[in-house]
Amino acid sequence: MSATGGRGVGRDLGDAAVAGRMTLRGLLRRRTSLALLVALPLAFYLARQQQVGQSIRFLALGLAWAVSTAAFFAAAAARDVERRLTLSGWSWWSLVAGRIGALLALGATLSGGYLLLVAVDQPVRDLGGVGIDLATTTVLAVLVGSFLGVVARRELEGALGLFIVSGLQFTADPPSTLARVLPFWSTRELGTYAIDGPSFGSLSDGLLHAAATALVLLLAVTVLSRRALDGGARSRASPLAAR
């Protein structure tokens, strides 16, 4: 069975748009959760509001945690229905792409808002750098959350996974190997670049780490989602695919 399910790429992109719209509707309806999601990075930011560097770092990590949580729970909530929809004829990738696209849009809105906050509230030497930091963090967070969503069978396991990833990122010593291996290392590095300058933080290192992490996570999400959704356990008797 072809990846697009034979319905054509144009149709699948339209499908992805519909899936994305529905994901957003579902997310935006959860007012309380949404409020908490928005508040989390803000709370982290306010905790260190007096210090330029720390406030932005905490904001970024808070954003990472909030967006990855949203992505995880969006994936978990969609698991059953996505399986059922592929049976009805949806292609697995338009469902996943739609969902991830919606989360990226949500995350981008959040980061945009926070970037504005930082711009007015903090004397930052490189606002563009902060923007890059928040943007990469958003992308990585969506992928981390989506990855946990497809890997963790139960919500508790996934939530704990999120705790571990984010918590470790906070506590691991920045120059240590452990910190480098974690997905949000680039968030810290790019934050340092934006706040303290290129002599302290490497833009290229940060972007490279982010790109590599994103690629690995994207691959994992793709492979695992396809396996979970495109089961196709029964043979469909079709003249076009005679066995």
Binding site: A237, S238, P239, L240, A241, A242, R243
Partner: protein, 115 residues
Amino acid sequence: MVEVNVPSAWLRGILDLCLLALVASGEAYGYELMRRLEGSGIGPVPGGSLYPALLRLEEQGLLAADWRAGDGGPGRKYYALTPEGRRQLDVEADTWRHFSGALQGLLTGVGAGTP
């Protein structure tokens, strides 16, 4: 073999029965059935009548279809008799024998090749 011109009206009437009988002697796909039909002496059946008949028999549950990989191309649809089809064939075969016997009686002494 004597060249006979079988009126198309007759063929239309017995096509279903012929197809059931042909499939009873072995599963086959559409074109193969057409060849067997021609070879049987019944006469050439227009390709146009064949497929509506096959579809009808399948829809009525008398034939079961199975797609099989063709050589190098898309699959071929093979037809086989179902238990209901077998029963229908037996019943209609008996009916036919009775009918043709009666007709035979009517036609004794008529025609060029009188038996």
